[in-house]
Symmetry: C2
Subunit: 434 residues, 2 copies
Amino acid sequence: MKQIGVGILGFGTVGAGVADGLLKNRELMSGRLGVDITLEKIADLDLITDRGVAVDPAILTTDATAVINDPSIQIVVELIGGTGVARELVLKAFEAGKSVVTANKKLLAECGDEIFSTAERCGVDIYFGASVGGGIPIIRVLREGLAGNQISSMHGILNGTCNYILTRMENEHLPFDEVLNDAQQAGYAEAEPSLDVDGFDTVHKAAILASIAYGFHVPLASVPVEGISHLAGVDVQYAAEFGYRIKLLASINRTDDEVEVSVHPTLVPFDHVLASISDVFNAVMVNGDLSDSTLYYGRGAGREPTASTVIGDIGDVARNIVSGSCRFARAIALNNQGKLKMRDPATIESQYYVRLMVADKAGSLGTMTTILGSHGVSILGANQKLPDSDDSGGDYVPVVMLTHRASSAALVSALDEIYQTGVVREPPVKLRMI
Amino acid sequence: MKQIGVGILGFGTVGAGVADGLLKNRELMSGRLGVDITLEKIADLDLITDRGVAVDPAILTTDATAVINDPSIQIVVELIGGTGVARELVLKAFEAGKSVVTANKKLLAECGDEIFSTAERCGVDIYFGASVGGGIPIIRVLREGLAGNQISSMHGILNGTCNYILTRMENEHLPFDEVLNDAQQAGYAEAEPSLDVDGFDTVHKAAILASIAYGFHVPLASVPVEGISHLAGVDVQYAAEFGYRIKLLASINRTDDEVEVSVHPTLVPFDHVLASISDVFNAVMVNGDLSDSTLYYGRGAGREPTASTVIGDIGDVARNIVSGSCRFARAIALNNQGKLKMRDPATIESQYYVRLMVADKAGSLGTMTTILGSHGVSILGANQKLPDSDDSGGDYVPVVMLTHRASSAALVSALDEIYQTGVVREPPVKLRMI
């Protein structure tokens, strides 16, 4: 049986998981794949910390370049993260004729053009399955399983921290700040949580998914993003009363030559499969012209789940090398570059959930509905709520409405105009619906 | 760009879907895969019926052998079904040096040994992604994405007809027969429904999944199977009162050197993702040592979804041929043949739902619990129900119990003994819990 050598750059959480998995399941994988995958070297600046993996100390090194240049290593696994040294080492590996497996979403989303074009020029593979969805093999599915499909839309719950917070906000009727605090103490959220809770992590992943599905580069700056840190607990509860659960969704939709990519807290009906994805789990629903709806669910992060996908990619690259055929240099086939463009967010249509604190006097509701109607926004349903105890004066009452489909621009204009009339006490809250 | 020719055997529903998909998404696929896949010939005995696909009449033939021997065809797609002529033609294609893509679960489950060993001897590929789960790329995920995982268990909803019937039984409080009748009229169930509702279709699929995950041949006769045709509506309702939904589940579990494969109506808690899979949809949950829980959801049947997976396989085989490397001759790597064995169903442990019609007199419940306890079956919870109007005499009342984990053999013995005491009116109903 042919042997393929692997070198790991970055012996952190995921690096340790990959090393552990490669060692303990080596025989299992060789039986399945027909290739014997050997762990040859691991590079990290810290060789002291115990990672809980019994690796031969002789394979540890602080010299990443020695890993890349090791002739026994054909696959370099980049698990350093970020776009600094990770980018340099990946490019160096390509130039040395080594294929690369990475879990680095930032590198892919921000430097994808350079990474893919260099891999293609060097005739090597770049696999990046673990950059989106952790243990869910969604990239593989999009690239291969659904290769025969025109993808009309994708909806993803792509950040476990946000989904954990939203699940607890709903189930325990807690405010965002309190759950975030708990999540930080339990290790489910970072001390600096903005990357997760403000949606930026989700944007990176959404851009990668859209690029793969549609074959053009998605500029991150063109993706509207709204996180969950400003989400009020009361909206989570009101949404539930209407039969909806709020999820931080990446929404990707194609219409003709335009693609929408956006990230918003979004109302999902209870009986939609995405509503059943709770706690730290992730899921992506993909709609294809042949497949119809399919959904992929699993742990979006963590040592072992991420290692599972990295190792799956290593297996593929190993088989590619044995057969002398690299397959993913054209990983993101930019065959629609220049043909597709990003949709102007103002024109994106959706149903909306709107909450307003409305003056409790005759004519307020009439004023609002007239203004909404004049902007083409029609109302599907509305509930007047009991005022909070904070609103004991009773001068204003919360009103929650669900709208029919309307463009983002029309709704924003209508809500601005309503706010300016003074019939509402504060800027209205609006949330998208799936 | 290299061209790879495809020939289809069987121009039925799925065959027409594959032809349609290959024609309309040809350019899309060549952009993604770097191979131009051309539809060269379609063989069927009926060349008259309109399949709603605009194929050049010149590529239609009644001669399957002519397709197999056509030098422009490198991939033969078998969509005839069954183990008669389909088996002969697949073997003939192998001998002619052609790789095969099939959706034929019966062929794989019943003749897998012969099919795989012949493909291996001939040095060609056999892909069969659409044999399980229709449009869900579950076979690919198991073979590749999760290749680095020891699979501890899988639970699948693998038959859309059964899931449709169970969903309606629960939502509309209807008996099995009435929903089956509706389903037949709506085209969701066959006139001869036994293959679906008695669980045999699910057994075929479960055997294929287990064979792939564990690398040994699963003999169909050793798989205990219980369908849904004897399921009482009252059990669906009582289960719901306890917070469970009944699904026809394929359960696959590995413990040391034994593998359980079984098919039973099974209680799944409402907050389990599998409980959210409704109507004709299918799903498979897979637990791996690295990946932890992942789930794959989609349409388990139908022209386009099945075609989606067949075409995904064609794309893979085409790339294998271009790179001169067949990859799945060892499709079901029988590397554990002789090392693993099927678990004796009597020893399988589960929690159980039990319903008994109990004599409404002092001591009945005590008699039952004593007998259950003497067989090592302990009770987690019990509810006494109001008698049906049928039981207006009130001599017997329905009692529903959930048990802690017990072996199938222990529970059966206990229930037999209870029945023989005469404290229950009819043989108790027992259902597994996930």
